[in-house]
């Protein structure tokens, strides 16, 4: 009866209900945006790892996050490779160099990844298929999301990188994440040419792939003994937790989008409360009549709650659709990996229901004043 009554009230005044849905829709959309951005930043930080094949990552014991990984010795990676558990171990080198061919005479900083392109440690197929071209001296692939300030990224363009003239031999698509405004990929020999003082003995990341059936946690514990001090091993799960906590707690990201999230939930509550309490006020005589004929406060409260929840659920569905579209637009505009996930949908649905519940609770206060004797 109470649910049916809630439905009747909502469908009786269609204009007002439409307004309520619109308000709820916007509030939920707002929560989606803040949540999407909140998770996009750590996702941006995880971009390289999400495009890398590994079961265990060997890093320096000074490892901070992906762009500040520290170095360890190549011999430690070799020791890991010798383990019977390990199928492959690929060294990955990072370096910064000046791209002396930017727009307007600028020299933007280029993030250089040094890796054996045929190793398959990076997932984009375009890297492995272009490994022959990368084997020629002073050649590089550029990430196709490199910013316009770097000028043309066309194949066969010659660009001075630090003190060497490098030829662009192709592009690949992985994304620049927080590595920098532009990223290039070279093979190990060319990396050594580009950074002569550094050489190949000091490695930034070691991508270790285990043989089928080997448990990563157990292998990590075993390998830690083999590789000696100064380096450590992360499983994928442990690495993801570490990177996410870096971006959400060490930077202002967590607080900025966290507070945005909180305020958008409060605003959502305000919208629904505004609408439901107006309905309660307008239907006060009717509610008082119901009270007079014997319905308790509880039944009326359930009616109000049902109204709130109906508005929340009905506003939710279109908001999911709009959020998917808006995420695409934000991705396009900001290059941040704002993506919809089942987790987001579930979390926002929960938030919407909380908004509905709180605003119903606030509105029910008005109901108690529905004294049959007063109204008539």
């Amino acid at each position: 009866m109470t649910i049916a009554l809630a439905w009747k009230i909502l469908t009786h005044d269609k204009g007002r209900t439409l307004l309520a849905l619109l308000g709820m829709f916007m509030a939920i959309l707002l929560v989606f945006i803040q949540l999407g951005l909140f998770f996009a930043v750590p996702l941006g930080g995880m971009l390289l790892y999400d495009n890398m094949r590994f079961d265990l990552l060997l890093v320096s014991s000074h490892y901070e996050y992906q762009a500040q990984p520290g170095v360890f010795s190549l011999s430690q990676l070799a020791a890991a490779r010798a383990s019977p558990d390990v199928a492959e171990a690929t060294p990955i080198y990072f370096g910064f160099a000046k791209w002396k061919g930017g727009v307007g005479g600028s020299w933007p900083d280029l993030f250089v990844i040094g890796i054996d392109p045929a190793s398959g440690a990076l997932t984009p197929d375009s890297i492995a298929t272009q490994s022959d071209a990368l084997a020629r001296p002073d050649t590089m692939l550029v990430d196709s999301t490199t910013r316009p300030i770097f000028g043309s990224l066309a194949t066969s363009r010659l660009v001075q990188i630090d003190d060497r003239n490098e030829t662009i031999v192709g592009q690949y698509l992985l994304g620049t994440g927080f590595m920098g405004l532009g990223v290039a990929l070279v093979d190990e020999a060319n990396f050594a040419r580009l950074f002569p003082r550094r050489g190949l003995g000091q490695v930034n990341l070691g991508a270790i792939r285990l043989k089928p059936g080997v448990n990563p946690d157990r292998a990590a514990a075993d390998l830690q003994k083999t590789i000696g001090p100064g380096a450590q091993l992360f499983t994928r799960a442990k690495l993801a937790g570490r990177e996410t906590s870096y971006w959400t707690t060490r930077t202002s990201v967590g607080l900025i989008f966290g507070s945005g999230l909180l305020i958008s939930i409060v605003v959502g509550i305000m919208v629904v409360y505004q609408i439901v309490s107006t309905q309660v006020t307008r239907q006060l005589p009717q509610f008082a009549t119901l009270k007079a004929i014997g319905y308790g406060d509880g039944a009326l409260a359930v009616t109000v709650a049902a109204m709130s929840v109906m508005i929340a659920v009905a506003g939710f569905a279109p908001a999911v659709g709009a959020a998917v579209g808006l995420y695409g637009a934000i991705r396009q505009k900001t290059l941040l990996p704002v993506t919809m996930s089942a987790g987001h949908v579930a979390a926002v649905l929960a938030a919407a229901l909380v908004m509905a519940a709180v605003s119903a609770l606030l509105a029910v206060g008005g109901l108690r004043r529905a004294d049959p004797a007063d109204v008539f």
């Binding site: 307004l19 619109l22 308000g23 916007m26 509030a27 959309l29 707002l30 945006i33 803040q34 951005l37 000074h62 901070e64 500040q68 910064f96 000046k98 002396k100 930017g102 005479g105 600028s106 020299w107 933007p108 900083d109 910013r147 300030i149 405004l181 003082r197 060490r250 202002s252 607080l255 900025i256 507070s259 945005g260 305020i263 958008s264 409060v266 605003v267 305000m270 919208v271 409360y273 505004q274 609408i275 309490s277 107006t278 006020t281 808006l326 934000i330 505009k333 900001t334 290059l335 941040l336």
Partner: protein, 394 residues
């Protein structure tokens, strides 16, 4: 308040009745509800505007703190925080130009200085500035007060607003910079930006020693800071400097340098669009809330409006009353939201080390957005009053 209230001339009485004000304050409960609803939407916009401002403040405040009229740097620099040294010899050429009072070196590095947290011994990348203690380059009084102390080799001033894991929030003690022991002889308040977590300021000699340790390179001068003689013509000195330094040296005023950096940050970062989306959504939500409020009020007062119409008040008058009431609703939401945002700016600024500052610009923009969202929704809601037929109401 610049709103001229539409008033009912009291028949035979002396004082007019401010009708919009009266109907706004007639129901205190409702007023509280409406200002809370609009207020939170305004607060959302204020926070987004504040974050956007903080983003730019964070990247620009170190440039604003430079004690210079004109800055020399490499033409290849696309942003300030990138290594692109210029020869120190340009300072001599610049000093020779008429109207130049001083030309001072600023050494800087963003990717080669590692600071040890004195508390747990962990090592982090920091931003470092080096200068001649006899030739101040910063406007920070605390840095200038510490210049004498910096003359001692291996002493540093640290940024007490640096991210806390760096352990810079202290006045004394020791730490290490690229493995060299340094004494902390004072601090200043700058704060992190989106490249650097913290800042260390030291003498050019200490800077050179620390950089040798890391990369083996002699440190490069990143900028030459020029002060004009009193009465010198800025444009003329600027033109003369451009002629006297090599072509790969960019000569610009401090304001131009700041503008260049702002344009770069706006172009490459996502801060503008991200916070614009938040502000727009806040605006639309606010519009829905205020529509709801005004629609309800108009509906409830419909008999009264009809009465006014019946006794001869024109529709235009009723329109004005509704719009004024909408504007008052907006202001009653904006004022508490603005006050609350002052506290929130402070709190978040402290916790997140963000330079969140309430500015005249943010105040005016948010007020304009608030008034327009209320007036637009009132304009939509008011149709009902216009159509009011006195005969139908009774």
């Amino acid at each position: 308040m610049a709103i001229a209230f539409s008033t009912l001339a009291r028949r035979g009485g002396s004082r007019p009745v401010p009708l919009a004000w009266r109907s706004l304050t007639a129901n205190k409960r409702r007023l509280l509800r409406s200002s809370a609803g609009i207020g939170f939407a305004v607060l959302l916009m204020l926070m987004q505007l504040g974050f956007e401002g903080a983003f730019f403040n964070a990247s620009l405040q170190v440039l604003r703190a430079l004690d210079a009229d004109i800055v020399l740097q490499s033409t290849h620099k696309y942003q300030f925080a990138t290594e692109d040294p210029i020869p120190t010899s340009v300072l001599a050429s610049a000093s020779a130009v008429a109207g130049v009072a001083s030309a001072r070196p600023l050494y800087a590095d963003w990717f080669g200085l590692f600071w040890k947290d004195p508390d747990d011994g962990k090592v982090y990348l920091v931003r470092g500035f080096g200068f001649d203690p006899d030739k101040p380059v910063f406007l920070f009084p605390e840095i200038n007060a510490g210049r004498a102390l910096l003359k001692q080799q291996d002493t540093v001033l640290v940024d007490r607003r640096a991210r806390r894991f760096l352990g810079m929030d202290r006045t004394g003690g020791q730490s290490e910079l690229n493995g060299t022991k340094v004494a902390i002889v004072g601090n200043f308040a700058l704060g992190p930006d989106f490249t650097s977590d913290g800042t260390v300021v030291m003498s050019a000699a200490t800077f050179a020693a620390a950089m040798h340790g890391a990369a083996g390179n002699p440190p490069g001068m990143e900028a030459g800071l020029i002060k004009l003689s009193p009465g010198a013509d800025r444009a003329m000195v600027l033109a003369a400097l451009k002629k006297s330094v090599p072509a790969e040296i960019a000569v610009m005023t401090k304001a131009q340098l700041i503008e260049k950096e702002r344009a770069f940050q706006a172009d490459v970062s996502s801060a503008g669009p991200i916070f614009a989306i938040g502000t727009i959504v806040g605006f639309v939500v606010g519009m829905l809330i205020s529509y709801q409020i005004i629609f309800t009020e108009v509906s409830d007062q419909l008999p009264q409006y009809a009465t006014l119409k019946a006794i001869g008040y024109p529709t235009v008058y009723l329109l004005r009353v509704v719009l004024e009431q909408a504007a008052l609703n907006g202001i009653s939401g904006w004022v508490p939201a603005w006050l609350l945002s002052l506290g929130l700016y402070r709190l978040i600024g402290q916790i997140a080390l963000l330079p969140m500052r309430m500015s005249v610009e943010i105040s005016l923009v948010s007020l304009a957005l608030t008034l327009s969202m209320c007036l637009i929704s009132a304009a939509i809601a008011v149709g009902r009053v216009i159509r009011t037929d006195p005969a139908a109401v009774f």
